[in-house]
């Protein structure tokens, strides 16, 4: 009798520990999503500001400058266009500027040109990385939330399922036949 009770108690304890471990994992994943999101936000913001710096640097012709400034403006004006589209537009505007024939030759040797171009490229690459990491942890979180135990016991509580962030973030056109991938 006592042995039976001991087994039931032990089983309940084990189940409790397991469930709380799963819940803790989902919770930690949500925290990681938040962190990855903050990192992604920061890289997008940095990309916008170096793109604007390039636009106002006087290194480019006014039309290219205006094109970039306009795309940066689009990423800040969140009311008019969904964020993923606005950020993709900035990618394409940068790609259009960078893929002009002899683009580098045209501004090479000007003061600060090389540093600024390198900075834009670095910022764009960071967006690519941050987005990849963010989507990875989103995928893991969504997976954990989908497990039967998590669903039945509502282990994710009231936290909403995180969304993937899809955008065009490649500074290099994928194939030359379709310019800029548009």
């Amino acid at each position: 009798m006592i042995a039976d009770i001991a087994i039931v108690v032990a089983a309940a304890l084990l189940i409790g520990v397991y469930v709380s471990w799963r819940a803790g994992r989902i919770d930690r994943l949500h925290v990681r999503v938040d962190m990855a999101q903050a990192a992604l936000d920061a890289t997008l913001l940095r990309r916008s500001s170096v793109a604007l710096e390039l636009a106002t640097s006087g290194l480019l012709d006014p039309a290219t400058s205006l094109l970039l400034a306009s795309a940066v403006h689009g990423t800040k004006d969140i009311t008019s266009r969904p964020r993923d589209l606005a950020e993709s537009d900035l990618t394409r505007a940068l790609r259009a500027a960078f893929s002009q024939p002899d683009f580098r030759a045209s501004i090479n040797g000007k003061e600060g040109a090389d540093e600024l171009l390198a900075e834009v490229e670095a910022a764009a690459h960071q967006v690519f990385l941050a987005r990849k990491f963010y989507n990875d942890v989103v995928a893991a979180t969504r997976g954990a939330r989908q497990r039967p135990l998590a669903r039945v016991l509502r282990l994710s509580g009231r936290a909403r399922a995180p969304e993937f962030f899809e955008m065009d973030d490649s500074l290099v056109a994928e194939n030359t036949g379709a310019p800029l991938g548009l």
Binding site: A69, Q100, P179, L182
Partner: protein, 382 residues
């Protein structure tokens, strides 16, 4: 006069600005002026002799959609060369607030510059116009033209300064002659409509209501409708089932087909309920010489000379429209008279008249000025 005109958008793509420039340039050439247009264009596009290609336009996201524009230092050098070799008395840039050839031309040129603003700039974009590179270009402009009151308003309110309003003209010659679509207008008669089907201000709903009456009275009468709609099926749903096979929807049509549509009907209807500042479609119908029945909004009353050049009906009243259209369908002599009067009246809106107004702007800005030249720095990169 030697006139250089810049087009910001690709010549291969149909569009309002390109069409405006083409019509203006041809009207100026007809007046004996020497006109050169520079425009983005694909290398293999056949261009009229007065157009210089500035190379392929690049599709870029702009203002929430994809535009085909020319930018970059190669475009700068092409514009610079064009200005140097052109020896223009006046430079006429279109849409200089767009990141394309017109802005670049403002940047590299000195001398008399006229700019035409085609569209109202949305509030959210105004900030960009005050952006230094644009500002510097815009400040070089000596005379500004807006094609509509709305376009002028943005200039006055947000950029500062004023502009003269010179509306688009009608290339009346292009509308004068065309073959009707096969089988039209047909023995029972036909009424035509052009415009967006799902925009209430265009008034198609008024015409459809009137057709319920007209269609029942006249067993052979047909309705020819051309224009885009999000859901064309919705239009047919609004027509009684018995009349549905006599309402023909063409969808969006090409410029050429638009002219043919106008020549395919006995009566053209402009049932707009308001919001038109000029009524370009009505003017085009006048140029085609098709008898018109139009709502008596201010714009139509003006272009139709208070009813002399077309029948007017009470705005938004299907009964009155049915009576007016019925009268016209029954009276070939009246139709012929209206058609002749419309052809005379529309001459006031012809591009040749518009071109003369634009020319007087040119003549004003060249006073006391030198030829158009490349700036001292030559638009070299600073």
């Amino acid at each position: 006069m030697k006139i250089g005109i810049t087009c910001p958008y690709s010549w291969d793509v149909p569009g309002g600005v390109q069409q405006h420039i083409k019509d203006l340039a041809e009207a100026l050439i007809d007046e004996g002026h020497d006109v050169s247009v520079i425009s983005p264009a694909d290398d293999d596009t056949p261009l009229p002799p007065y157009v210089t290609g500035a190379g392929r336009a690049v599709p870029v996201p702009y203002n929430g959609s994809v535009a085909r524009l020319s930018f970059g230092f190669l475009s700068v050098s092409r514009v610079r060369r064009w200005i140097k070799e052109g020896g223009f008395d006046v430079l006429h840039v279109h849409e200089p607030e767009i990141p394309s050839l017109s802005l670049l031309a403002c940047w590299v040129a000195s001398g008399p510059i006229v700019a035409t603003f085609h569209t109202a700039i949305p509030r959210s974009r105004v900030l960009l116009v005050t952006y230094p590179v644009v500002r510097t270009g815009l400040e070089k402009i000596n005379g500004r033209i807006a094609v509509s009151e709305a376009a002028r308003t943005t200039l006055v309110e947000h950029i500062g300064g004023d502009a003269v309003v010179i509306p688009n003209g009608v290339a009346t010659r292009r509308y004068r002659k065309a073959d009707p679509l096969p089988g039209w207008p047909g023995p029972g008669g036909a009424i035509g409509f052009l415009g967006r089907l799902d925009e209430p201000r265009k008034g198609l709903q008024v015409l459809l209501k009137a057709f319920e009456v007209l269609g029942q009275e006249r067993p052979g009468l047909r309705l020819l409708i051309a224009g885009p709609a999000a859901d064309p099926g919705d239009v047919l749903d609004r027509v009684p089932a018995a009349l549905r096979d006599r309402v023909i929807l063409l969808g969006q049509v090409s410029e050429e087909d638009k002219v043919r549509v106008l020549h395919s009907v006995d009566v053209f209807c402009s049932p707009n309920t308001g919001g038109e500042s000029f009524g370009i479609v009505t003017a085009e119908a006048m140029a085609a010489g098709v008898p018109i029945v139009a709502s008596d909004i201010e714009a139509f009353r003006q272009v139709l000379r208070g009813g002399e050049a077309g029948e007017l009906f009470t705005t938004g009243d299907p009964g009155d429209l049915a009576r007016a259209a019925g009268r016209l369908l029954d009276d070939p002599a009246r139709r012929a008279a209206l058609s002749a009067a419309a052809l005379v009246a529309v001459a006031d809106y012809d591009w040749s008249v518009v071109a003369r107004s634009v020319l007087s702007v040119y003549e004003t800005v060249v006073l006391g000025s030198t030829q158009v030249a490349v700036t001292a720095s030559g638009g070299e990169f600073p």
